[in-house]
Subunit: 338 residues, 2 copies
């Protein structure tokens, strides 16, 4: 039974939705969970609804890092912050993985401070799922993009390692048997994108374990051309946030059009079920959170706005990552390309 | 009266839609146009519909560069390619600006080979409009993003020059009196994005002519936070193509949802007028094309799939850029920040 340390104090809706998510997970699974944070508040929230006390324990700590707080400063001054305590529990073997919906920078830093990089890995990467079209039946409706913000700029070796790590993760967690890996670039030809991307292309072609489909362009991101898309953190971060942002624009355009057309208004009313399904799809982060890959231990970063179901999903993904031995699998894959 | 050299052979629908666009422009404006390409074919297309012969002339040339052709190779081996001939006409003073819907790389290279960089400008940039929300009444429904592919990586001075050039262009052509300029980055804080972006932020804060609003993140791109968004070519290119690509995904999601809901089907039928309006907005490239900024002469790159109305719009934008003396204005603005 995997043991997951859950940062109860991180997230826009913490601790309420975090604790509710843990309570729900305790009724649907056999995952052992430790809620890390203000114990009185956590216990009060637990007592407000049903949960399985055999699967949940609480580790008290007094501090928390805010969503807008500087992560370096926060981690330096608040030794007892819930996100740090959760990471230290994993490092000490008291838990097998951690989940947080808190400050992304603090999550990456807490992992970097407390977890060991897998042997040979140069940099860890934050990977996120995103919604896209599919090209064949059975293909996952979500793609995986990395890095989305643990790094800024990367060299060719780092990008190739991201390809290997993302491929290993997708193979296990997304159940894509042979994930197609693409390199995000400004053109499809091997010669595009400057020295680093040209060298990364060459390196990604080599390993037989990688199903490298070549460069993917901006308009390929939301097709099924690649299951795993590799980019340096600056580029991946902008792309991920743009995908999130565009969902909101679509809604606004529809609202504007509604203002001067009775047919549009009636049409929108007819569509209400469908519209909410699209909104669900757009809310893709609730599908389990973003893993930080490259460390010996797994940290799953759930979206800052996570509600209880999203927290529950993130915990299940963390448990699955432990059960499926994602980190040892990544270590093997990295060793093969050295 | 501005004289515009139009590459008749460049574009997915060339020469038919290019010639038709020129014919339409000749009936609606006083712009002098030279169609550059296979004269027999051009004349036959002109004769098929109404046009004003006083405004249109034809410059014959025998070659053309294909949309998928390597631009370096194409320009080297085909001295008589329509895109090169058009650029040489502008350089020789036989035309004031050029328009092409052809190979983007070839357009940038032909400009670089034949036009002079404005004094002080380190690199030219390709700028594209894109659809976004507005924050206040009167704000342009389109933003301007540069560079979208003339460069790959850029230093802080180059990015600052892009800010100045984009601001000058938006002020004139988009009639935004004081365009808000944003730096595309992975976080809103001044400290984000690594050395180059941190230095670019500092430099962009300084010039009083720039209304610099700071860093914009991926989810800010499609809001009205900035009217001009600055990025190195690799990042800008991926962002622009992603925006284009997502329009197609939205259509597909709607189609999928339609398959199992009669209400959705009826709703979509009710919405047909509104849907086509959204499609028009999504087809934003028809709103005038992308200028290559930084040279003493202007080249407007229309979208490869341009139909006659898009070609006509690009010609009007080119003429306006000449009338409004965009390049001298950019030269002045660049001189001010040196």
């Amino acid at each position: 039974m995997p043991r997951i340390a859950v940062d109860a104090m991180g997230g826009d809706l913490a601790p309420d939705e975090i604790v509710r998510g843990v309570a729900q997970a305790s009724l649907e699974s056999d995952i052992q969970m430790v809620l890390v944070g203000a114990s009185d508040r956590i216990q009060a929230l637990l007592d407000a609804g049903p949960y399985n006390p055999e699967l949940i324990s609480v580790r008290h700590c007094s501090a928390a890092i805010g969503m807008a707080e500087d992560p370096h400063e926060g981690l330096r001054t608040k030794k007892d912050a819930s996100i740090s305590v959760a990471a230290r529990m994993v490092a000490a073997g008291e838990a097998d993985a951690m989940v947080t919906a808190g400050n992304t920078g603090a999550a990456v830093l807490a992992a970097a401070k407390n977890f060991k990089l897998i042997r040979g890995v140069k940099k860890a990467a934050l990977a996120s799922v995103f919604p896209r079209q599919t090209e064949y039946p059975g293909q996952d409706a979500l793609g995986l993009l990395l890095d989305v913000g643990a790094t800024i700029r990367c060299d060719a070796i780092e990008l190739t390692q991201f390809a290997v790590m993302g491929s290993a993760y997708a193979r296990r967690v997304s159940k894509v048997a042979r994930p197609r890996v693409g390199l995000l670039n400004m053109g499809s030809e091997e010669s595009k994108g400057g020295d680093v991307l040209v060298e990364a292309y060459k390196r990604m072609k080599a390993p037989p374990q990688l199903d490298f489909v070549g460069n993917v362009e901006g308009n390929d991101v939301t097709t099924g051309k690649a299951d795993v898309i590799v980019a340096e953190g600056l580029l991946g971060n902008v792309v991920l946030k743009l995908i999130e942002g565009i969902g909101e624009v679509a809604t606004t355009v529809a609202t504007h059009a509604a203002q001067d057309s009775w047919r549009w208004r009636i049409g929108m009313a007819m569509l209400s079920t469908g519209i909410s399904r699209i909104r669900d799809l757009a809310d893709f982060r609730s599908y389990g959170g973003a893993p930080i890959l490259g460390f010996e231990s797994i940290c799953i970063k759930a979206h800052g706005r996570s509600t209880a179901p999203a927290v529950k999903n993130a915990i299940k993904v963390a448990a699955k990552a432990v059960r499926d031995r994602i980190s040892p699998e990544i270590a093997e894959a990295i060793a093969e390309i050295r």
